[in-house]
């Protein structure tokens, strides 16, 4: 009988653990992110956009609460996608109270939570988080905005997981069609363009891959960096 009661308690407690509400999961993720007030990180940035050929760059990423983020290439030029502030989840987790949190279920072992803003004028229309409940880390997110379409984040964590900071972030964003008249560019036709190139230029998604090499946490970042 004792064994039966013990088993029941174990199952119930197990169920209660796995059945954390979406709000609780969001709060636990937020608690991790809240440990970071600001950071300066060094990262390798790879830009993958169909109409851009760019080298891999070493960039500095600056973040400051609540949602200031700046990516700067101190030694060269880097094309920074619009909405890059979403590279950090702080933008969503700053004020989770402003969202209705909806539990959608699980997929591939990840808890799917949707956040709907209560403010009709908010730029974010919908955010979907894919949370690993074991580590309480957001592995993937999709944020749909009014102004700039949908952003996707895929994150891989390492030694800064305790702070909810990823070692590698793949940021996917919408790109608009690119075309300049040949009369302006006066291109040299070296025979490498034509149809294959034209197909590439239509609206597609661009990717920026940030591989962080180090973070400096909570040491203060001046506001001038973000101007």
């Amino acid at each position: 009988m004792k064994q039966f009661i013990f088993l029941c308690v174990f199952i119930v407690s197990g169920l209660s653990l796995s059945a954390q509400s979406a709000e609780e999961v969001v709060q636990q993720v937020k608690a991790k992110l809240d440990k970071v007030n600001d950071y300066q990180a060094t990262a390798r940035m790879k830009t993958n956009v169909v109409f851009i050929k760019a080298p891999v760059a070493t960039v500095n990423v600056y973040f400051k609460k609540p949602n200031k983020l700046r990516i700067r290439n101190e030694k060269g030029i880097s094309f920074i996608p619009k909405g890059s502030v979403n590279v950090n989840l702080g933008n969503i987790f700053t004020n989770t109270g402003a969202y209705d949190i909806i539990d959608v279920g699980k997929e591939n072992g990840l808890r799917i939570i949707k956040l709907l803003p209560r403010d009709e004028n908010a730029d974010v229309v919908l955010a979907t988080l894919y949370v690993d409940e074991k580590t309480m880390l957001v592995k993937k997110s999709k944020t749909t905005t009014k102004e700039n379409g949908t952003y996707e984040l895929e994150m891989t964590y390492g030694k800064y997981a305790a702070y909810g900071l990823a070692d590698k972030v793949i940021f996917t964003f919408n790109t608009k069609e690119y075309k300049l008249p040949k009369g302006i560019t006066l291109d040299y036709d070296n025979g490498s363009s034509k149809e294959a190139e034209e197909n590439k230029l239509k609206n597609k998604k661009g990717k920026v891959e940030l591989t962080y090499t180090n973070y400096e946490l909570n040491k203060g970042v001046p506001d001038s960096v973000f101007q």
């Binding site: 109409f51 060269g76 030029i77 619009k82 302006i184 006066l186 291109d187 036709d189």
Partner: protein, 296 residues
């Protein structure tokens, strides 16, 4: 022949009008540099208009983008269209000018063959062309580097954007200026050929410019029937091949490969076509001149 070349060079560089071209280049280069120094960010906004919906362009980005390498590219893009006129000023004058002054017959009384005479005249025109390009390189490249500093160069093509790291740029400019020397030599050869037929230098200069303008318009027009037939063989289609040194190869993920050129064989082909035209023009000029009855 060397003595004759020295005499020809002396004649070219003694004339004040030779320096009009050097002055014109200096004026255009300085005007572009001043304009971009004070209003460059507006120019960047215009350039990046197509990308502003997808990317953020901070003030720092604009300052970095407007570096000496980009400014030189902009100047070359603008000036290499006007340069044929400056080259034609001297090459078109080389034979016709002598005829106009009545010194051609006198010159040919010297104990040199007509072929030697023509080759020397053409060599002098080529040296002048190279001097003009070196002057342009000093002002446009080194001058811009001094004023604007250096950084990665971003090249805007009609179908995409290419970014080259700063350490990978200088050799491309050396190659581009080398190529431009060949391209302008072709123009010099054309003006030289036309110079043989005229008794005054205005005719060959205007004729050269007219041919260059018509061919450039045909080269830039996107009409399929011309694309397949005429364009590949127009020398003006190949004069812009210097830009090919700034078109880089990239990995499948769009990462540029340092030190690479997208289509080197196409540049080589263009180079050979220009050399072919130059040989054709010069050979024709010599052939016509050899048969010509010199009366002036």
């Amino acid at each position: 022949m060397w003595k004759l070349l020295k005499i020809e060079l002396y004649k070219i560089f003694k004339r004040p009008r030779t320096y009009i071209a050097f002055g014109a280049i200096a004026a255009i280069v300085f005007l572009i540099q001043i304009a971009l120094k004070f209003d460059g960010k507006a120019y960047v906004d215009l350039l990046m208009n197509n990308l502003k919906d997808s990317f953020e362009f901070s003030e720092v980005f604009k300052e970095d983008l407007l570096n000496g390498y980009l400014i030189c590219f902009v100047i070359l893009n603008t000036l290499l269209i006007q340069m044929p006129l400056l080259v034609a000023l001297i090459a078109g004058d080389s034979i016709a000018g002598e005829a106009n002054m009545g010194t051609l017959r006198l010159s040919l009384t010297k104990p040199i063959s007509r072929v030697e005479y023509m080759l020397t005249k053409f060599a002098a025109s080529v040296i002048y062309t190279i001097a003009l390009l070196i002057w342009m390189a000093i002002l446009a490249l080194f001058g811009s580097m001094l004023i604007f500093g250096t950084n990665d160069i971003v090249i805007l093509r009609s179908e995409g954007v290419e970014q080259i790291q700063s350490f990978d740029v200088m050799w491309r400019y050396v190659a581009a200026f080398g190529y431009a020397a060949v391209a302008l030599t072709t123009i010099a050869a054309l003006a030289f050929l036309l110079s043989v037929f005229a008794e005054n230098s205005i005719g060959p200069i205007i004729a050269t410019m007219s041919i260059v303008i018509v061919c450039t318009i045909l080269s830039e027009m996107n009409i399929p029937i011309y694309d397949r037939t005429i364009k590949p063989w127009l020398f003006t289609s190949h004069m812009v091949a210097w830009k090919g040194f700034f078109y880089v190869k990239a990995t499948e993920e769009g990462v540029t490969i340092d030190g690479s050129v997208e289509n080197l064989s196409a540049i080589f082909r263009s180079l050979m076509i220009l050399v072919g035209y130059t040989v054709l023009f010069v050979t024709s000029a010599i052939w016509v001149f050899k048969k010509k009855d010199i009366l002036s």
